[in-house]
């Protein structure tokens, strides 16, 4: 049987863990609120870009533009966004499962699939499954504009030169505090991205006007490239934002559960400690009494 001293030692250790998990929960709550405000503010920007993008992809003048054509190089790529840190439940496992669908699909169709990932927890999981990423990005929790520009330019150039058929981002999409799901957002071909974004947008394009009614400055072919860069940049940014929000929600839930479990354990150990201490006192009293009786 464990003595009261050991129980006390164990209770103190669990109390330290409880404090740690509670702090982590609070940190995630604060960060969640910060990113949530940014997410809400950026929504309108993404919607506005999607509406303008929709106007352009319906233009008959742009049918032959390299950004709107489908390539057939046999090479696809996915960017997988895992969690930045650990202790967030099954977050990375869900992302891996979503990635597995693409890996299997590429294997069955005989296409080459390259995986790109930020230097995060997911890389360890990929190594465990013997998957070597084509490139690991070194970036902050929320990538800077320059870091996103680098990714945008890299894949846009590859797509326009016909070296890439498809680019997708596997990430945890944030719907609300109660709902986050792993999803793939197709970034390229651009038509698929705009189609997806306009479906998500809260306000769709006012149908009374068509692309022929507009005056473009510079020409529509020149505009599409700049707009594509902006749309792709904002889509990648929004995927990272969703991933961070989902990660913090996952961590908040995991840490809340851990804190509650620790509190329950502390309660049980306190009761056990009191019982053990009482029985020790009783035992010592009995020893004293029996000793005194023996002397008499």
């Amino acid at each position: 049987m464990i003595g009261p001293r050991q129980i006390l030692h164990r209770r103190n250790a669990i109390d330290s863990i409880r404090k740690m998990t509670r702090t982590m929960e609070m940190i995630s709550t604060t960060r969640y609120k910060y990113y949530f405000n940014r997410w809400i503010a950026a929504k309108e920007y993404h919607d506005a870009l999607a509406r303008t993008g929709y106007l352009l992809v319906t233009s008959p003048k742009l049918h032959d533009h390299p950004l709107l054509k489908e390539n057939s190089s046999g090479r696809s790529a996915i960017i997988a966004i895992g969690s930045n840190r650990g202790l967030c439940g099954s977050y990375n496992s869900y992302i891996y499962q979503a990635m597995k669908v693409h890996i299997d699909k590429a294997k069955n169709s005989g296409k080459k699939l390259e995986i790109y990932a930020p230097d995060r927890r997911l890389v360890g999981l990929l190594n465990y499954h013997n998957i070597t990423p084509a490139k690991i990005y070194d970036m902050d929790e929320m990538p800077t504009d320059e870091q996103i520009d680098e990714i945008t330019d890299e894949f846009l150039d590859q797509y326009m030169s016909g070296k890439l058929d498809n680019l997708g981002i596997v990430y945890m999409r944030y719907y609300s505090v109660g709902s986050q799901r792993p999803q793939t957002l197709t970034i390229m071909p651009l038509t698929e991205l705009i189609d997806d974004l306009t479906t998500r947008a809260t306000v769709i394009w006012p149908w009374t006007l068509s692309v022929e009614d507009f005056y473009f400055s510079p020409s529509v072919t020149e505009i599409i490239e700049s707009l594509a860069r902006m749309i792709i940049h904002s889509s990648i940014q929004s995927c990272f934002m969703d991933a961070i929000l989902s990660e913090h929600v996952a961590r908040m839930i995991a840490m809340k559960n851990a804190t509650e479990n620790a509190e329950e354990m502390i309660k049980e150990l306190s009761a056990e400690y009191n019982r053990s201490r009482q029985s020790q006192i009783t035992r010592e009293l009995l020893d004293i009494i029996s000793g005194a009786e023996a002397i008499q």
Partner: protein, 148 residues
């Protein structure tokens, strides 16, 4: 001065959110190839933006003799005009609604520090220098408004 019934709507959206939504009588924005003016009933247009100062003239009230303006520093993006609605989707924008001189001075300081210590390619440096010159222009305009 334009009549109040000649108004249209102007919305400026940046990655950080909606910066401006108001009724206006005239807007001048920095397009990729120079300044573009927009009045009511402008034809539908999609225009690429450059770096510069955007000026939005408020709808005049009877008590005001001089029209009020809202200034924004725009850095890239698109302007879209349709159905008497001007939507500016800016890559980066700063709104100076009440011409706060402190805000401009703080931005001037940040921009000067960035230029002094940042590592830039020649085109990036040129861009940052242009941005700084526009901020200085805004600071001058603020000082002029305050004197009046």
């Amino acid at each position: 001065m334009s009549a109040p019934d000649e108004k249209f709507q102007c919305v400026v959206i940046a990655p950080r959110g909606k910066l401006l939504k108001c009724d206006t009588v005239s807007v001048v924005f920095p397009a990729h190839d120079g300044q573009v003016g927009v009045w009511r009933n402008h034809m539908p247009m999609l225009c690429k933006l450059g770096l510069g100062i955007m000026s939005v003239e408020d709808v005049p009230s009877e008590s005001e003799l001089e029209p009020k303006h809202t200034f924004l520093l725009i850095d890239g993006g698109f302007a879209q005009v349709s159905n008497n609605l001007l939507t500016v989707i800016a890559q980066d924008a700063i709104c100076f609604k009440d011409m706060e001189s402190e805000k401009i001075e703080k931005l001037l300081e940040i921009e000067t520090n960035k230029l002094a210590h940042g590592v830039y390619t020649p085109p990036q440096r040129k861009h940052e220098e242009q941005k700084l010159s526009f901020l200085m222009k805004l600071a001058e305009m603020t000082a002029a408004v305050k004197k009046e």
